[in-house]
Every structure is written in C-alpha cells, then in structure tokens.
Amino acid sequence: MSLNDVFNISGSGMSAQSLRLNTTASNIANAETVSSSTGETYRARHPVFATMFNEQQQGMGQSLFASQEQAGQGVEVLGVVESDAELQSRYEPDHPMADEQGYVFYPNVNIVEEMANMMAASRAYQTNVEIMNATKTMLQRVLTLGQ
C-alpha cells in the first residue's frame, strides 16, 4: 500500500462507476422497448459493487479476521443483475407488438431512479478523478526529493 496503489484504486473506482453509467444509459435507452410477452421484455439492469482485497495477504491465513486487518485495494463489479420488479402491461390493441388480448409489456425501468443513479455515478467518478489528480501532484513532488 503506497501512493502508487492509489492509481489502481481510483482507476478501479472509475471503471466501476463508468459501468454503472453504461447500465443507466442502457436502461434509459430501453425504457420504451415493448414486447408482446413478459419473458422477452427488457428489464432494468444494475451493477453490484464489492470491495477488492489483496488476495496474497488473505491467503496467508494468519487470523480469522484477515480481511479486517487490511484496507481494500479498490472496487470491483461482481456482476450485473436484472431487476425483478413488475413489468407494466398496457392495453394497446392497435400496437403491432400487442398479444392476443391486446396487451403490450413495457420494461420496469424507473426513469427518476435512473436519473438519480446517473448523477450519483458521475459525482463518484469525478471524486475518483480528483483523488487521482491530487495523488499525481503528490508523487511529482516526492520525485523532486534531494534536488
């Protein structure tokens, strides 16, 4: 753990937040993508974040609380999960995608929630960039040692 690690840590944070922005963009773009059955309809996707730890230190098996004796090494995306909230079915018999009863299914994307997610993700991304910039200045200063 040193100043050099900050680049990896902030970089992992930036890549996680940009993936979150990507899923948000995908959700908003597909907010009106209809289909004629519940199985085919687009569902809102969200990433799941988790802390990364140094596996070499974890494997040493010194104690049961090995993960508490070290700070994390950044953030990773464990996966992208689809929301299981209820889909909206609307009665639109004139719609080309309507089923026999005249219903079309709209995705369970909540636009307000997605916009809030987008703002939080871009703020978190900015903070990570600022941390990286500050660390760059610190390292450049340390490089002038003895001059």
Partner: protein
Amino acid sequence: MTINFDNALGIHEKALTFRGQRAAVLANNVANSETPNYKARDLDFQAVLAAQQSGDDKGFAASTTHSRHINTESLLDQAAGLRFRTPLQPSLDGNTVDADVEQSAFAKNAIELQASFTFLNSKFKGLMTALRGE
C-alpha cells in the same frame, strides 16, 4: 563519526511512508463510496507511531541469517493503526463512507505529506551542506 542515514533522517522517512499508505486507504474509501456494506477505514497515526516505537508491530519481517542481509525496518505495520470510521450518517445499504469527509481527509493528508516531504528534503539539504563543507 560516520554519516548514518537512519539517524540523519529520523522519523520523517517513516512519516512520509505512513502518509502514502493513508492516502491509499482514503482513496479506497472514495472508490467504495457506493459499495453496499462497505465500512470506511482510516489509519490512526498515533497507534502506528506507538507500535513502531514499542517495537511490537507485527508487520512483514525478513529474517537476517547473514551479516550482509539488509533488514526491513522501513516497512510499516498497517494493521496496528487500521480503524473503522464512526459514521456521521449511516445509510440503509450498510455503507459508512461519507465522500465529503473522505475528500477533506485526503486533502489534509496531502498537505501533511508535503510537510513530511519538506522536512525530509531539508534533512538531505543539511547532509549535502555537511558533505560539501563549504
């Protein structure tokens, strides 16, 4: 009388290492500001200093079996000072990171790193003056 780097540089070398490590811990908090159940961490300067002074830090140590082996005393034991931050405003997903608190702590740590660096640099300048003898 010989010039000994350990005596000449004093605590500032390790203080600089500590500031660098604390920067990494705080950056990790910021990176995990949206991770569910993540608990914010911080390094306690006093605890690390006390562990270093009493010599009971259990950090990475290499055994010296030969007179020409170099000892590893410049490494710090992080676990001695690693603490959980007390949350000001706990959130529903179990995350205790407050991005503003972390950012201000990071900025303060950066200034303290500059201070340690300035002290260390002046030590080197003093050594250079002694070597030149002008």
